[in-house]
Each structure stands twice: as structure tokens, then as C-alpha cells.
Symmetry: none
Subunit: 230 residues, 2 copies
DNA sequence: GATTGGCGTAAAGACGGCGTAAAGATTTGC
DNA sequence: GCAAATCTTTACGCCGTCTTTACGCCAATC
């Protein structure tokens, strides 16, 4: 599990910091991929499948936190957030969205590298299997972000994916409403439980053989939801 | 899991911070184990096998970093370091010794809890073991929040489940009515003992082989109830 | 042997959570 | 800039769960 040639994705718009990171990470032996926006970051994360990503929160085309949610919907890769904001609320939001660490700018490069090493440690490189679910006639590939039913592809919206992966990570176990809301919509919507009901129905309509009698996406009244698979 | 009673080991010598952490982690639903020294910390980590440990660096009988090395030698559990020192060298040393995160005192409790959630996320809890009860033909998995009788699943309502776990935590021992009422319904209903009779019956109907002659959920007249298991 | 308190049992009512639908607001893609 | 897709908001009916209420039983007490 040596990380000699681990690939790291850097999502940062300020050229100066980008150069700084590229040089520092490069001399440490990492392969560096760079992106300057949320959109590019999402694409590069999917295409390069890096072993770790460093994400700035203040990006030109949106909040980095949105990128975190997107990536978390299909990958468990370590995510380190870089931010100029030291406020606690921002930290909590980023961490609950799926970030593994939160570093405040300005940061010491030594510390950042140590946090990278720490995050990379114990990461099992993509071994290939395991990330496909089978629910009766429907199959879901969490890596490729695709789903199909009896061969014909099904389209899932971003939120539907996030909710599904959040449930799929704990197959067979109850995931509480608070957990789901925090991870999918962020801590601010922790009490908007009606979102869950709406998207649970949408997922059931798309995935369940008989949406009126759910077999795979089961609700635990007063607690949360639970996903079964064959 | 997410969210079913993860155990957290707190290694900290200052009583004030300890109390603070115990209360904060407790209300979040975590089970808390405490230690005040490196030596006790190492022992408790080995014996309780917590899902995560929060370690202070300045301990009376040595550096917390030593404890980190010891634990890392045999366990991949998440380790969060607490420290009053903000120096970069210390951070790097702790992280490279095996820590997953480094939080500087004074810290916001919200941030710490978010970092705990983040570290706990994706941790596969050693299932099996002590978190399943066997009552004759019925099996109860406290982690997955499921119960089954001769293979067929049984549905438990939230209150039924809370009552059951409350009893299961003290298997073989009497739990007083006051305790049960306080933990399940809250302190306001401490004298509504008839609730207990109603839900005791419901549990018996669902779990006991012969509900008319309870073998596992036994009432201790005037005191409370007691749960046996095989 | 009557009485009292604690427990078991049953059933009806109240409440809240859940599913469902549809319209409005926002974002995305062309 | 427009159209489509997606997300959010709002509303309502149903059903499960919880609470309330009532009554029968047993054991202990007097």
C-alpha cells in the first residue's frame, strides 16, 4: 500500500497557490492533476480517479462544498478542504458533506503534506469489485454512476444518486433521517424530513419492481430508511 | 453509521475538558470510555476496542504521541489528536505517527463532532460479536436494528426498540421502572408505569416463544423488568 | 373473605409521520 | 435567451404508532 505514485487532484483557482501545491506535491513524488472550477473538478475526479483530492472552497463557479457532495456520491476517496474561512459553521458543513479534513489558509506546507500522507494511509486502491448493487431486476454501478433495469438504462438525478449511495454504504442497516439529510442536503436542512419522503418515492418509482410494495428501499418509521440488496 | 452507538475512547487528563467531551459525545448517542493517562489509554483501547479515539497530547505520564504509535501498531481505528500546541512540527509528528486528525485547543464542539462523524464515516464496525441477542428462536441485531424469528423478520416500533435496547444493555440484571421510563419516554413520564406494561406485552408478543409464560422478558414486581438471553 | 395495589389485556381515539400529487422556483443545457 | 430538467415548496389523505381509557386477574394485606 505504498503511495509512491498516488494521484492527487488539486481544485483551486488561484494560480499562485496552484503552482505552490503542484511543486510541493510533485517533489513528494505524487502525480498531480489540476482543475480550476467545480465543473472541471467533477469531470477530472471522474475521469482520472485520483487517490485523493484537495479542494478549495472559494471557486469561481460555485462552492467547493458542492463538488464534495458530487464526488462523495460515487467515491470514498479522501477529500481535503482548503479554505480561507475559519468559521465553525463552514467547517461543519464541509465535513458533513463528506470532506475528510479541513485546512485553513494560510497553511504550512509541511502540515498539509502530513495531512495528505495521513489521509492516503490505509486507503485501499480501487480493486474493482464491490461497487455494484443488485436489486431484483435493477443493477446499479456506483463507480460508473449508472443504473439499469432489465438491461434498459435508468436515469438518476444528482440528489437521487447521493441519497442512494448514502444508503448503499450501509446496506441492510438503518440510516437515520438526520444522517441522510446532513450528507445529502447539508446540516442546514437537517430537519427538512419531507425531502426524504419525496426522493424516497422517486427512487422507489425508478428502482423497485413494485413501487407500491417496497422490497429494497424500506422505511423505518420515525427513524430513517434502509436499503436491502440481493 | 453511521449511527448506531459507536464507542469513543477519550484520553484526556484535564477533568473539565473530559466532562465537556463526555457530555457532548453522550448526547450525540456515542458510548464514551475515558482514560486519564497514556498507560490507561493503551489498556482501554485494547480492551474496549473503541471505534474511534480522541487523544490529548499533553498527558501526565508521557506524550500522547507515544500512545498513538502503540495503538497504530495493532489497530487502524481513527485517532483524533487534541492539543494546545499549534506548532507545525508537532502536528506533522502526530499525523505521521498515525493520527488521522489534529485539533487545536480551544476547539468548537460543533467542529469536533463534525470531525468525529467524518472520521467515523466509512469505518466498518466489527459486526457479529456482542451486539446480537439470541432469545430462543428469535435473534436481535442491535447494530442493524433488525429482529427475526426463525428466519422471518419482525418489525419493531421505535419505542419498542428503545425499550428493548435499554433492557439489553443490562442483560440478566433488573432495570428499574424509573430508569426505563426516563430513558425511553423522558423524565417527564417517570411515573407513567402503565406504559411499561403495555409495551412489555407487545415485546413479549413479538419476541417470546410463548407470550403467556415469559421466559426472556421477566417482570420483577414492584421493581422493574429483566431481560435474559441464551 | 373482602380490599387494595400492581400487573396483564384489550380496544378506541388522537396524533404525527409517511406517501402522494402538483404547482412554483431554480438550475441546466442547447 | 429559451426550453427542459431538476429541485423546492405547498397541500392533503391515509395509516401506523402512541396515548388514553377501561376492565379482569392475581397476590398480599388486614
Amino acid at each position: 500500500m505504498t503511495d509512491t505514485r498516488a494521484t492527487i487532484l488539486v481544485v483551486e483557482d488561484e494560480p499562485e497557490i496552484r503552482r505552490f501545491l503542484r511543486s510541493a506535491l510533485g517533489t513528494e513524488g505524487y502525480k498531480v492533476v489540476e482543475a480550476g472550477s467545480v465543473k472541471r473538478g467533477a469531470i477530472d475526479a471522474a475521469s482520472h480517479k485520483p487517490d485523493l483530492a484537495i479542494v478549495d472552497l472559494g471557486l469561481p463557479d460555485g462552492e467547493g462544498i458542492e463538488l464534495i457532495r458530487q464526488v462523495r456520491a460515487w467515491s470514498p476517496m479522501p477529500l481535503i478542504v482548503l479554505s480561507a474561512r475559519a468559521g465553525e459553521a463552514g467547517k461543519i458543513a464541509a465535513l458533513d458533506a463528506g470532506a475528510n479534513d479541513y485546512v485553513i489558509k494560510p497553511f504550512g506546507i509541511g502540515e498539509l503534506l502530513a495531512r495528505v500522507r495521513s489521509a492516503l494511509r490505509g486507503v485501499v486502491r480501487p480493486s474493482g469489485g464491490g461497487h455494484t448493487l443488485k436489486l431484483g431486476g435493477t443493477a446499479i454501478d456506483l463507480d460508473a454512476r449508472t443504473a439499469s433495469r432489465d438491461g434498459t438504462p435508468i436515469h438518476l438525478t444528482p440528489i437521487e444518486y447521493r441519497l442512494l449511495t448514502c444508503l448503499a454504504r450501509n446496506t441492510g442497516m438503518v440510516v437515520t433521517q438526520g444522517q441522510l439529510l446532513r450528507e445529502v442536503w447539508g446540516p442546514a436542512h437537517e430537519s427538512d424530513t419531507h425531502y426524504l419522503r419525496i426522493y424516497a418515492k422517486q427512487l422507489r418509482d425508478k428502482l423497485e419492481p413494485d413501487p407500491l410494495q417496497p422490497r429494497y428501499l424500506v422505511t423505518e418509521t420515525g427513524i430513517g430508511y434502509r436499503l436491502f440488496c440481493d
